[in-house]
Symmetry: C2
Subunit: 330 residues, 2 copies
């Protein structure tokens, strides 16, 4: 008949028991070569595909990993999630993604419950906000979790880019070019990476014994960068480290509008290296994050965790300074 064949059908076709079919499918060693080929032929002939739902029920393993992320239309999260899913696929896992509009405790918890119900073997939480990190404390029943780009919690392995180091490198670069001090446009409060970048900036200035100007508050958007740019133009800033590339674009726009030459009068360093940055006017000097490495690392940590390894040191991915045309010496 026309319905999809099941294992029993294959078994009958090949003249063996369904269990032998299962053995062939699972690469069990103790199957005679001749039997194996016969089963394979039957599978081919019937166009059989194994029912993974039934398999998951029987094995209590779904071979599916869950990913919880915040706003996947942003370049950073999107790239991270992409890196994660590529790595998961490579490792033979399916991926189920929940993309949240806002990260508050309740939403993250719901998302994890949602994934837990679905029977995922583990969860990667892309939780760059402090609020989300808190949720990790009350883990769902027995599902291993890895936190990415965020704050860890007790017993939750962490994978992240070294944002502190990035802030440090960006600021040092500007100081080495001869700027007296470096201003900073930071990301929204509550974002761990924003805070770490700011700390790196402060550390670099402190180490060089320079004045630390009051940082300007941003929210990642170009609009916020634009506003900050207008203020900085008035302040007569000569060097600015901006916490992401989109805001840096806003600064560029503001400076262009006001006739302030970049990098002639002001040097700017961004963060992320979005694909557009290279074609800003001028091309943006920025800090590149290796999202693929973060993805691979998080899956690796998660799989280790699933296999029962207890504590894992946080995996920290180094960022890279990419020098382009938006920075120059005094």
């Amino acid at each position: 008949m026309g319905k999809t064949p099941v294992m029993a059908d294959v078994a009958k076709e090949a003249g063996v028991s369904h269990q032998t079919v299962s053995r062939v499918l699972n690469g069990h060693p103790n199957v005679r070569g001749e039997t194996r080929t016969r089963v394979m032929a039957a599978i081919d002939k019937l166009g059989y595909r194994r029912n993974l739902t039934a398999r998951a029920l029987a094995t209590r393993r779904s071979r599916t990993l869950g990913v919880v992320s915040f706003d996947t239309t942003l370049y950073g999260p999107a790239s991270t999630v992409y890196g994660i899913s590529q790595a998961a696929r490579q490792a033979g896992y399916f991926v189920s993604i929940v993309s949240l509009k806002s990260i508050d405790r309740q939403h993250v918890r719901d998302a994890m419950a949602y994934l837990g119900d679905q029977g995922v073997d583990g969860i990667v939480v892309v939780a760059p906000q402090r609020a989300a990190a808190g949720v990790l404390a009350d883990l769902p029943r027995g599902v291993p979790v890895v936190a990415v780009q965020g704050g860890g919690a007790d017993g939750v392995p962490l994978v992240r880019v070294d944002h502190f180091e990035g802030g440090l490198a960006a600021t040092r670069h500007l100081l080495e070019l001869g700027h007296q001090t470096v201003w900073h446009v930071r990301g929204p409060t509550g974002w761990i990476e924003a805070e770490a970048r700011e700390e790196g900036w402060r550390a670099a200035l402190s180490a060089a014994g320079r004045r630390i100007p009051e940082p300007l508050q941003g929210d990642w958007s170009p609009a916020a960068g634009y506003r900050a740019g207008r203020i900085l133009a008035e302040e007569g800033a000569s060097a600015v480290f901006v916490s992401n590339d989109q805001m840096a674009l806003g600064l560029l726009r503001a400076f262009t509008e006001l006739g302030v030459d970049v990098p002639g009068r002001v040097s700017i360093v961004g963060f992320d290296d979005i694909p557009e940055s290279e074609y800003f006017s001028p091309p943006l000097t920025t800090i590149r994050q290796d999202f693929a490495a973060v993805g691979r690392g998080s899956i690796e940590q998660l799989l280790r965790r699933i296999e029962g390894v207890e504590t894992l040191p946080p995996l920290v991915v180094p960022p890279v300074l990419v020098v382009r045309g938006s920075t120059s010496g005094r």
Copy 2:
């Protein structure tokens, strides 16, 4: 004991049969109110959560939808997928996403098999390339499919933005500003939306009886736009319709470098309205796509399809012209 409770545990706790628990959970009408509360209390007390894998096996419905998409780090696909998953969640479905690096027949087919094995109830294919559309012809066994932003196939419902109309509107806008003709930087061959935008551009020029210049070939990247920009500067183009905003950024960069004023000497219209466009220098006039509407529409069509509705007319979402600073009159 410490293991997760199953339905039978709840039943015992509430002093009913497991089937009654099932009835309560599924909102079956014929359950006495008092029984219902007793069961609910037991569920609460034990912290019971229903095993969706078992449910899926028994019902042969997973309440999960699959999404196949191309490069979700691009703004367009990312936004589309986001819209789709929001809409799916709203409708009470889980979403499983496969993000492909390249769309060729084989990859798309693999992805669909992968999702099919996982037992999804339906699949949304974000397939903007002609090659992908071909695959839809050989559907997987009985799983409903909806195509998004791409080319349809027989019997596959389609949801897309009206790219032709977008190209038309962009070109008309430039003609109305008094430009003699409009050049075009198109997207990569094989992309249906690129072709539709180009057709819209051609149609507008034809209708106005203007010369149709040879379109320049792009690949969506700012780098391609930059190359096109250098050529167009040489050609002395006064108006350009670029098939996406990233390439338009490349053009802006090229013109800035060459000292060609935008919009003084050249007017530019992009496509997509990425978040950055508003802060380009000058802010980019572009065609906005409503990705959320596409997402909602595709889920709606897919659910209809799952419920057995046979043929559905393609859903076409109108684009919107957003006028900013990159266009002006002659």
